[in-house]
């Protein structure tokens, strides 16, 4: 493909967030939309997520990851989105000039009237959680193992221990069992599951793989290859419980200990990041602190369902196109959104005071602590409750949403700020 010098919208990353953004940008009238992807094919991490469970909201079907991606790839091609594969974005300026490198073109630059950041996230590694012990071969992140087993056709080991009860770890526990490996156990330092309950049922319980809550790894043992791990129980403050140590023989340790939004490029462009989410501060259009630079999907905050990533992509793509077509947009007057009682963060971080006149705005949030009873999710201003709805529980592993509707426009317009609380109904 011959690339142009300037595009209306450039999307960085061809995963679900980027593909949805590109499609919607095109549909919203952007004349040329370019997706830049460093891999040699489109689809992003969905390509290695071969298990089903995707698309229940978007397509009302239970699809595997590659099929979910395929539908967006087909649509992106059909609406005329352009692609640069095998191309790395090395730098992005606040003026939206991209510095790129590829085998085909070498080093080159191009400009964008609007940019959508859709770089996704990365896995937390051993170094980031500081597991003591030897440093043999055989310690991998769960996603790396997933790529090898599902795409490249390699088994990383025979006898596994998995640290962390994130979704990828549980899904890999089942996948490795399917491929004939033994998974001795899954350890979780917290007192609750960090992934979805359904994955506990169909990945661990179905295959008799034990889950040990409030357990972690004290030491990795093995000189050239992992030979065993020493596990230990922890108390509520994650202190080791003396005498609870156990040596578990294994040849491979997989880590499923969290995902971090990938924002090296965002920083280069001067985009301000929220230390809680590790993603950009965004408004309800998913515009970052730098005008004309939008962000969608796991680059903003880590989602547990791809369906929500696609919706975020739609929003970012639509507004990126509008920005590209009309840069004269007036500076918005914002109402800040704050994380209140038992809320870790709320996305978006701020809301255009008049946003609700244009339609609904979905707030996405995660709670700090699990509440295993009926809860209220409530949005309030200084003076009044704006909306509240109930849920049967709230868990840190499961993102919750609450919708602001046009009927609340007046209350939002008058508010100094909005705060979101999640609390047991019994406390109300």
């Amino acid at each position: 493909m011959q690339h142009k010098e300037i595009y209306d919208v450039v999307v960085i990353g061809a995963g679900p967030g980027g593909l949805a953004a590109a499609i919607e940008a095109k549909k919203a009238g952007a004349r040329d939309v370019l997706v830049i992807e460093r891999d040699v094919e489109l689809g992003g991490i969905l390509l290695q997520c071969i298990h089903n469970g995707f698309g229940l909201q978007t397509f009302k079907e239970d699809l595997p990851g590659p099929e979910y991606a395929q539908r967006f790839i087909n649509e992106a091609r059909a609406v005329g989105v352009e692609f640069l594969l095998d191309t790395m974005v090395m730098d992005l300026t606040p003026q939206r000039r991209l510095h790129l490198s590829s085998r085909q073109y070498g080093y080159f630059t191009l400009d964008a009237r609007a940019v959508v950041l859709a770089m996704g996230c990365r896995e937390r590694t051993r170094a980031q959680i500081r597991i003591p012990g030897m440093r043999p071969n055989g310690v991998f992140t769960a996603g790396t193992a997933q790529r090898w087993v599902n795409v490249e056709g390699y088994m990383p080991g025979k006898n596994f221990v998995i640290l962390g009860s994130g979704d990828i770890g549980m899904i890999m526990a089942r996948r490795l069992t399917f491929e004939g490996a033994k998974v001795s156990r899954v350890l979780e330092i917290q007192s609750y599951l960090s992934g979805l309950s359904r994955n506990y049922v169909q990945c661990l319980q179905d295959w008799d793989i034990p889950l040990q809550l409030q357990h972690t790894i004290k030491r990795v043992i093995g000189k050239n290859r992992v030979e065993a791990v020493e596990t230990v129980a922890v108390d509520d403050h994650w202190n080791f419980v003396p005498g609870s140590e156990e040596i578990i023989p294994c040849d491979t340790l997989l880590l499923s200990v969290g995902l971090i939004p990938e924002n090296e490029l965002s920083k280069k462009a001067g985009v301000m990041l929220d230390p809680v989410t590790s993603g950009p501060f965004v408004d309800e259009r998913f515009q970052t602190s730098v005008p004309g630079i939008f962000a969608a999907g796991n680059v903003v905050h880590v989602y547990d369902l791809v369906d929500y990533v696609s919706v975020a992509g739609n929003t970012a793509g639509t507004h990126a196109a509008r920005y590209a077509l009309d840069e004269s947009e007036v500076e918005a007057d914002y109402v800040p959104l704050k994380a209140g009682k038992n809320v870790r963060y709320v996305v978006p971080h701020k809301l255009d005071r008049n946003a609700l006149e244009a339609g609904d705005v979905q707030l996405q949030l995660r709670v700090t602590q699990p509440i295993e009873e009926d809860v209220w999710l409530e949005v309030r201003s200084e003076s009044a409750s704006i909306v509240r709805r109930s849920e049967r529980y709230a868990r840190p592993g499961e993102m919750v949403t609450i919708l602001l509707k046009p009927g609340m426009a007046e209350a939002v317009r008058k508010a100094e700020s909005l705060t979101v609380d999640v609390y047991p109904k019994a406390e109300a």
Binding site: M1, P64, N150, E152
Partner: protein
């Protein structure tokens, strides 16, 4: 009256189901928030079913493996046989998403289909420029 407790896997909400049984028959499902939950609870109590996803060796493709899945649910106790049939299968690129790889796998009435397009590996294609 016998009670079985399940966590519904029909969607990510993970409703806690209680399935009340009498003489091997489901009398009532409670705790579900939708009809899929009711169906799941009844099925789970009598004969659990699951979708299965795995990979098939593919020759001449961009990657050595083709992801596949069962178009519907199969009996949980037969998953091992389904996996063995998938493991024994061989296909050649190109393949289109949705293409049937194993029809009526082990007589379950369910097809195993391709989860994605798998283009042929070709040196000249820009999609393959990373490959030597």
């Amino acid at each position: 009256m016998q009670e079985n407790n399940f966590i519904c896997t029909a969607c990510p909400m993970g409703c806690k189901l209680i399935v009340r049984m009498q003489d091997g028959e489901v009398v009532k499902v409670v705790g579900n928030r939708c009809r899929r939950g009711e169906t799941y609870g009844r099925q789970e109590a009598i004969a659990p079913q699951r979708m299965v996803a795995s990979t098939v060796r593919i020759s001449g493709g961009l990657h050595p493996l083709l992801p596949v899945y069962t178009k519907g649910s199969v009996p949980k106790r037969r998953i091992g046989e389904v996996l063995a049939a998938i493991r024994a299968a061989r296909v050649s690129a190109p393949v289109k998403a949705g293409q049937v790889i194993l029809a009526n796998v082990i007589g379950t009435g369910v097809d195993v289909i391709a989860s994605r397009d798998m283009p042929e590996y070709s040196k000249s294609s820009p999609e393959n420029s990373k490959h030597p």
